[in-house]
Symmetry: C2
Subunit: 203 residues, 2 copies
């Protein structure tokens, strides 16, 4: 399996420490239909992985270092409650964010993938968000902000998909598969997010 | 205000019967930032409205009559629990779905808009889903299916945006604004959906 580094702190994809997803494989099959997933998307998502795998650092630098960093209500989630930087947290979670790009493109959509999707969602919520890296930051990222940040990720991934000289049709195909995959992942996160209480504000 | 028909059953936008949204105007301002909304998007969404306003019927016919109708786990939400058609329900909710396209493009993002977004979300959930039209259909649409259906809407809206001879740049601009608006609306729906219990399965 492709990895962006030999050791990635807190990256325990496919290990017994990852809990079972509340979403079933049968529900996943239905979600693939809802999102309009095709065999062509399978092929193009693989191709996107080939194109993106050596660009994960500049992509995360753009998303976190530039876009999120410029939006205070998003940037705070990588900082202390007082707004101080947490370089170690940023570095570790940034590596996992890079690996997520790889996993998005290359992982099979099986039980391990479902379970790790659930794990990632939980790590954006209280009380899990800060446990993985043992930090003191905001307790959760509101689900609405995760949903709303997707268009920025989809828009800004385009130049990276186009960076290796593929045809316009191939770039469109990769982009289309990427968009569907991200929205399907957000759909998967809805269930773990539903388990937290609304008065905690995680919405 | 643009309307697709003089009378639209159950369409009570801006009336006192619509409850207050749990999302505040301040949270909406932040969501606009998260989604990357610009003044150009405002302009392009208006233009999209001009382009789409006489095409709402074929768009809904495509989404509901063709795409959703071909996916059993989605089609059931317009039918009886036994799978029988409910033509009156389909017609009335279809008209509101058409009007939603108009509202997406033309309505100001004010308190009335926030409140009606909440109202539409509630009408996809138990116990509200069937009350508006007094029908017996499925009690709710899982939030994950709503999230996951967005790429199909975004993809299939393209030819309709291109149908009036605008430049490629204008079509892209309209499409980009449309995509951001839909994702922002889904983000708004997260809060009302969070108020229902996960064991009801509405996720």
């Amino acid at each position: 399996m492709e990895r962006i580094a030999e050791h990635i702190d807190g990256y325990d994809y496919g290990t017994p420490s990852v809990a079972r997803s509340p979403v079933t494989l049968e529900e996943l099959v239905k979600l693939k239909i809802t999102v309009g997933w095709t065999a062509e998307d399978d092929r193009y998502l693989q191709l996107a992985g080939q194109v993106l795998k050596d660009q994960t650092k500049p992509i995360i630098d753009l998303w976190r270092g530039k876009i999120i960093a410029s939006i205070p209500h998003l940037a705070r989630h990588s900082r202390t409650p007082e707004g101080e930087p947490l370089p170690d947290y940023a570095r570790k979670s940034g590596l996992r964010f890079e690996q997520w790009i790889i996993d998005t493109c290359f992982r099979s959509w099986d039980q391990d993938w479902l379970d790790y999707q659930n794990e990632i969602a939980l790590r954006h919520m209280a009380p899990r968000k800060n446990q993985t890296d043992g930090v003191c930051s905001t307790p959760f990222v509101p689900f609405r902000d995760i949903i709303a940040f997707v268009p920025a990720m989809n828009e800004t991934i385009k130049p990276f998909l186009a960076a290796k000289g593929h045809s316009a049709a191939d770039i469109d195909g990769m982009h289309c598969a990427w968009i569907k995959s991200l929205q399907l992942q957000i759909a998967l996160w809805a269930k773990p997010y539903s388990a937290v209480r609304v008065d905690q504000g995680q919405w």
